[in-house]
């Protein structure tokens, strides 16, 4: 049975959040796939109860429902015409400063529009601070350890070096938080996470109480016994690891180059300003040359303005995205490590079980089968998310680099326009003078 939009998963209907079962955590709930209101009942085609205690994923479900084609299509081009299929829209904006006796902090407005039935209302509007985003991310990591969770902008800023309340800093952070939330909302599994739901809807995000029920679900994955050592990592995950390492290196280099360019440009700007000033000061001694000199000074000033904008953009748009990706890579590496641990545990248990079997002919314990399942799910989730991540990364960097090219072009265009109008002005004056001479 094929489904048009392979994004939405389990729908629990109109239930309060505390009663919502984790998607696919138990096979009792009838699974239904919701697309903008259409409901289709889809049952598991194979009879095996989904008994895993770890949260299942899109890919494992779809594998069983034979929906691979749709999954691939989705992953290949997640941004194309996805607005038709998207039923959850989130935005972060409107930063506001809050001053209390204990502390000063910024909150952001988080707006949600959705047609999903997991949400009681079609629209929500709440205020959240960075801490809340951080909470959400931790919860997501804990509850969905087999998935790649997008990164947050850096938590700590050195006081004295960066002004936490400057317009630029707040603006940059807000954009990154917006991107984070959008990535989560676009993810076929993460977007259904109840923690996300709470984050988007709860008037007062009471973190301490938390969603204790649900957090338990995620705990089991954390308790992967440490002592297992991985024999052989499958080739594709090795390749992932290598890719991450090299990519990390390259990003670091690009960051350094960009910073160096900023520095050189800033020094160039300083000298250029002085340069324009000399032309201005020359004007005073001259008569006929007044206009051209003023004109040149003006063009230099315009160019300075263009350069300033270029520098600001690099600082605000370019560098933060690079740094975000470095964080992203770190978190992906962690997931890889966890996968390795998961596999190691399975292999360890399997080995032990095989030995025992040989000794006293006991059947394969359920533990081992559970572990195998876990590993297979993990691998599948990771592979799917990896493809998705690669695709997003390609889009992000395409945007980043074309943006950089655009800004440079704009800076030059601005400068060129100024110089061209100066020439027109001076040449008009010249013809004006000539005609007045001949008259």
């Amino acid at each position: 049975m094929s489904v048009g939009a392979p994004r939405a998963l389990a729908s629990s209907g109109q239930k309060p959040i505390t009663e919502i079962l984790h998607p696919l955590s138990a096979a009792e709930e009838p699974l239904s796939v919701t697309v903008g209101g259409d409901k289709q009942e889809v049952g598991l085609t194979n009879g095996t109860p989904v008994e895993t205690s770890s949260p299942a994923s899109t890919s494992s479900l779809f594998n069983r429902l034979q929906l691979d084609d749709d999954l691939e299509a989705d992953v290949r081009d997640p941004y194309a015409d996805s607005t038709e299929m998207r039923d959850l829209f989130v935005t972060v904006d409107d930063p506001k400063k809050h001053v209390s006796t204990m502390e000063t902090y910024i909150t952001y407005r988080v707006s949600t529009k959705t047609s999903r039935v997991e949400f009681d209302l079609p629209e929500y509007c709440v205020r959240r601070r960075y801490q809340d985003f951080d909470w959400l991310r931790i919860k997501l990591e804990d509850s969905q350890p087999t998935h790649l969770i997008p990164p947050l902008p850096e938590k700590f800023v050195m006081k004295g070096v960066v002004d936490r309340f400057s317009e630029e800093f707040v603006e940059t952070r807000m954009k990154a938080l917006d991107k984070f939330l959008k990535r989560v909302a676009d993810h076929p599994v993460l977007s259904f996470n109840p923690h996300l739901n709470a984050f988007l809807t709860a008037k007062d995000l009471n973190k301490r109480q938390g969603l204790a029920l649900l957090s338990k679900v995620g705990e089991s994955v954390k308790h992967v016994a440490g002592g297992y050592k991985l024999r052989a990592r499958p080739a594709e995950f090795c390749a992932m690891g290598e890719y991450l390492d090299t990519f990390n290196q390259k990003l670091g280099t690009i960051d350094r180059i960009a910073q160096r360019i900023l520095k050189e440009q800033s020094e160039y700007l300083t000298e250029l300003r002085e340069y324009g000033g000399v032309y201005s000061s020359w004007v005073g001694s001259e008569d006929e040359l007044r206009r051209p000199l003023e004109g040149v000074a003006g063009c230099v000033t315009t160019s300075c303005g263009g350069l300033e904008d270029l520098g600001d953009n690099m600082t605000l748009d370019f560098l933060p995205v690079l740094r975000e990706y470095v964080l992203y890579l770190e978190s992906i590496k962690n997931v890889l490590r966890k996968r390795d641990q998961s596999q190691a545990e399975y292999e360890g248990r399997l080995e032990a079980a095989i030995l025992r079997k040989q000794e006293d002919r006991t059947p394969m314990p359920l533990e081992v089968e559970k572990c195998q399942d876990k590993v297979e799910c993990f691998n599948a989730d990771l592979k799917a998310d990896w493809e998705r991540w690669q695709s997003n990364k390609r889009h992000d960097f395409k945007q980043l680099l074309t943006g950089m090219a655009d800004r440079n072009i704009n800076s030059y265009e601005k400068s060129q326009a100024a110089w061209e109008s100066l020439i027109t002005l001076l040449q008009d004056k010249q013809t004006e003078d000539k005609t007045s001479e001949t008259n």
């Binding site: 890719y243 090299t246 990519f247 390259k250 280099t253 690009i254 180059i257 160096r260 360019i261 050189e264 440009q265 020094e267 160039y268 000298e271 250029l272 002085e274 340069y275 000399v278 032309y279 000061s281 020359w282 001694s285 008569d287 006929e288 040359l289 051209p292 000199l293 004109g295 040149v296 063009c299 160019s303 390609r394 960097f397 395409k398 680099l401 074309t402 090219a405 655009d406 440079n408 072009i409 030059y412 265009e413 400068s415 060129q416 110089w419 061209e420 100066l422 020439i423 001076l426 040449q427």
Partner: protein
């Protein structure tokens, strides 16, 4: 062996040759010199080449120096469409140009003598060699020397000078001819006028203003050249660092699948971008040279003003002396002592002088006064003529300066536009590559 440039223009264009005709017009350095005036109506002048020579100098030591080839050719168009006549040529080194200029300075103190290109490279941004034998420096100097000759050739007064003509036409024996003019004597007096500290009672306001303007211009152009060199330095850094993107994009493309090609080609464009700055800054050097010419011109303006001051001062001194002598005569005639003189005092103290003594002294004084009046008349005439000729040249200079610097600024603007276009081109190409990622 000389290069026949084949063109009939006394122009020297270095660097960017693929520019539009309007840009060419504004870019040409030596079109600032008016065509068809004075000597230039009769002949074309080129400084066509530069060559290295080695030889023994005055202290018998080996030295390497550069000589420049001067080509001259009659300016009439060749009838019947045949090939233009081969030019006359001779070789000159920089020191000979300097000798010529010194001669002109001394012989025409009321004229603002065009400057020579700098002897040593100054106001350099660090990439350019400050070495006198560096080919780029030699080339720019060649252009500067040609410009000097053309400026002299187009000057209403200087172009008629015999020594200048011989400089262009007589390779041997020119040096002797210069020395024979005896200009060396005047050199010392000129130095005196430049360095002397004297105060003029009634300064000519026009000259004072001109001297002040020339000092201001000197200051501002020096400043401009200094800052420009720093700006060039920094811009060089900006462009070159972008070249690093080239390498890292290339390395990164190796680990990518779909993104690889786009990244790799974008990297090449970054390399192209980094390479652009070399030509850009090379071309800007022409603008710097145009400014430098006027920087050096201010020294020439200053000397004319100073010379005027000296003449004015001498005139005032002559007038003053005459007044004092006349007063002395009066006293001698009437017997009253108003002006203190030792002779007067001693005669008072030691007895009056005889009638003959007084009369002989009076006669001598009359003679002196006569001479003094002659002298005053001469000085007056000298001053008037100087003022007239100098001011005429100053007016001519002011017009030339306004026109030349205006064109220089326009050509600078054109250079900036070209730089912007190049930048836009390469970033657009890179953007296309990024879009293909």
């Amino acid at each position: 062996m000389m290069a026949d440039s084949g063109s009939n223009e006394e122009v020297a264009v270095i660097g960017n040759t693929d520019i539009s005709s309007t840009e060419t017009e504004s870019n040409i350095i030596n079109t600032m010199v008016e065509r068809g005036t004075a000597l230039l109506r009769k002949m074309e002048i080129n400084v066509a080449e530069a060559e290295k020579r080695t030889g023994k100098n005055t202290v018998n030591m080996q030295e390497t120096y550069t000589v420049y080839l001067i080509e001259t050719r009659p300016a009439e168009t060749v009838p019947g469409g045949g090939a233009p006549a081969a030019p006359d040529t001779l070789w000159r080194r920089y020191s000979e140009f300097e000798l010529l200029r010194t001669f002109l300075l001394v012989t025409y103190p009321y004229i603002i003598i065009p400057p020579l290109p700098e002897k040593r490279a100054e106001f350099q941004w660090h990439k350019l060699a400050a070495d006198n034998l560096d080919p780029d420096f030699v080339e720019r100097r060649r252009v500067g020397l040609e410009n000097f000759l053309l400026r002299v050739a187009s000057h209403p007064v200087l172009s008629n000078d015999k020594i200048y003509f011989l400089f262009l036409t007589e390779e041997k024996g020119w040096r002797e001819a210069v020395l024979e003019t005896g200009f060396q004597d005047k050199v010392d007096s000129r130095l005196k006028s430049l360095s002397a500290m004297f105060r003029v009672k009634n300064p000519d306001k026009r000259f004072t203003a001109m001297k002040q303007y020339s000092d201001e211009l000197n200051t501002v152009i020096s400043q401009l050249l200094r800052v420009r060199a720093r700006v060039a330095d920094r811009l060089y850094g900006v462009y070159k660092v972008h070249g690093n993107y080239g390498r890292v994009f290339s390395e990164w493309s190796a680990i990518e699948k779909e993104m690889g090609d786009g990244l790799q080609s974008a990297g090449h464009h970054m390399d192209t971008y980094a390479a652009q700055i070399d030509d850009i800054l090379e071309e800007e050097e022409h603008y710097a040279d145009q400014l430098k010419e006027y920087l050096f011109y201010t020294d020439a303006v200053r000397s004319v003003c100073k010379k005027h001051e000296l003449i004015q001062y001498e005139l005032e001194m002559a007038a003053q002396e005459l007044v004092s002598k006349k007063q002395q005569r009066e006293e001698l005639a009437t017997g009253t002592v108003r002006v203190f003189s030792l002779k007067g005092m001693t005669s008072k103290l030691f007895g009056t002088e005889s009638q003959e003594q007084r009369e002989s002294r009076l006669a001598a004084l009359e003679q002196s006064i006569q001479e003094g009046e002659e002298m005053l008349k001469e000085k007056n005439t000298e001053c008037k003529e100087f003022v007239q000729m100098a001011w005429e040249d100053i007016e001519r200079f002011k017009e030339q300066k306004d026109k030349d610097l205006r064109e220089a600024l326009i050509s600078y603007a054109i250079m900036q536009i070209s730089t912007c276009k190049k930048g836009i081109q390469v970033w657009s190409n890179a953007k296309d590559c990024f879009n293909k990622m």
